[in-house]
Symmetry: C2
Subunit: 219 residues, 2 copies
């Protein structure tokens, strides 16, 4: 028994720190996604990761720090996935399409990441919500570039500059809200979500730059 424990201790020691940290973060994301921040226990994270609590504290800190590490890693992965999905040498609508596809593919494949980022980090609040809002800001900047570039192609650069950031904020809010809805309605294939949004939003935007404007009628 003692010899076993010693041997497993030696084996544990031999794992590089990066590998250990990955084990811990994978377990933490899973446990936080399932229980939320407040109800998640360090005992369960330790058990799921197969890493002792003292080692978790020493590598990544207590629960609050650990949660921050989770949010940062998952934010980074999400941004990377979306950026990798975007092809820069295609027209703006196709860039948006690829970006949305990559976003919903990420949500489908990393449901726990999205749950932690969108449901838990936002509702726990404080600095965690700040991290997610920074991520949202980067997404809005990315989309605003596409909107302005599409507007400029149509000779409406100035108008697109004026409304671009607001429209991008609306679009990102729509994409997020649809992803959140999808968590509870996962029978819809993830590819369909991107095409709903393109149809809902891009067609309208295209009409707009083509000069086809919706106006309220008398009523």
């Amino acid at each position: 028994m003692a010899e076993d424990a010693q041997r497993s201790g030696e084996r544990a020691k031999r794992l590089p720190r990066a590998v250990r940290e990955k084990q811990i973060l994978d377990a933490a994301v899973a446990v936080f996604a399932q229980h939320g921040y407040h109800s998640a226990s360090m005992d369960e994270i330790s058990e799921t990761a197969g890493v002792s609590k003292p080692m978790i504290y020493s590598y990544l800190g207590a629960k609050e720090d650990l949660f921050t590490h989770c949010i940062r890693r998952e934010s980074g992965r999400l941004l990377e996935a979306v950026q990798a999905g975007i092809k820069v040498d295609v027209p703006p609508d196709m860039q948006l399409w690829h970006g949305l596809r990559a976003f919903y593919r990420f949500v489908a494949e990393h449901r726990e990441s999205w749950t932690v980022l969108h449901r838990h980090a936002l509702t726990v609040g404080g600095p965690f919500a700040g991290e997610v809002n920074a991520l949202r800001g980067r997404a809005i900047d990315l989309v605003a570039q596409l909107v302005v570039s599409q507007g400029s192609r149509k000779g409406l650069g100035e108008q697109a500059e004026f409304s671009g950031k607001g429209l991008a904020a609306a679009l990102v809010g729509a994409a997020e809200s649809l992803a959140d809805w999808w968590l509870d309605n996962s029978d819809v294939p993830d590819g369909v979500l991107a095409s709903w949004l393109m149809n809902l939003i891009w067609l309208g935007f295209n009409d707009l730059v083509e000069g086809d404007v919706w106006r309220p009628r008398e009523s």
Copy 2:
């Protein structure tokens, strides 16, 4: 002096409870909007309201309860304002238009309400976020009815039933996100926001029910 205090005490007593509660809630919304939940102090709320702290505790409870009362009152006002803005005997797009106008008018006129509901309640988290999510759910239901009704007018009832709730979630997310963006960009008149959204979203939706579908091209 003592006589004055006594007289003002009597005057205070004579105010009906509902009036006192309104004074307290008005002050609380203003203070919470300015400082956020955690930094807001009961002293400042008491001072702004001109109501003693013991009276606040006795009428509306301690800080947590008071914040819940604020969220409920502001949610209720927002819903009422939007519902009052919607005319039921006009086509779905005009209903949405009036609803969005009423929503952005409310945000413009009750900036503090929206700040408390959207920025603070969500980021403080816990049961507060739950209240706001319930409000969002009601807004999604309201918009889903419009989407389904527009789809049915065009003979696409079944398709609208399938996608209506998701599209409504996207639309509500877009409206919220744009209102949030507007808090930091209030030089845009509030009437413009509703028309941006109509153009961005409703035209796209209309194209969709008219059979004009966006499809990815080869690239």
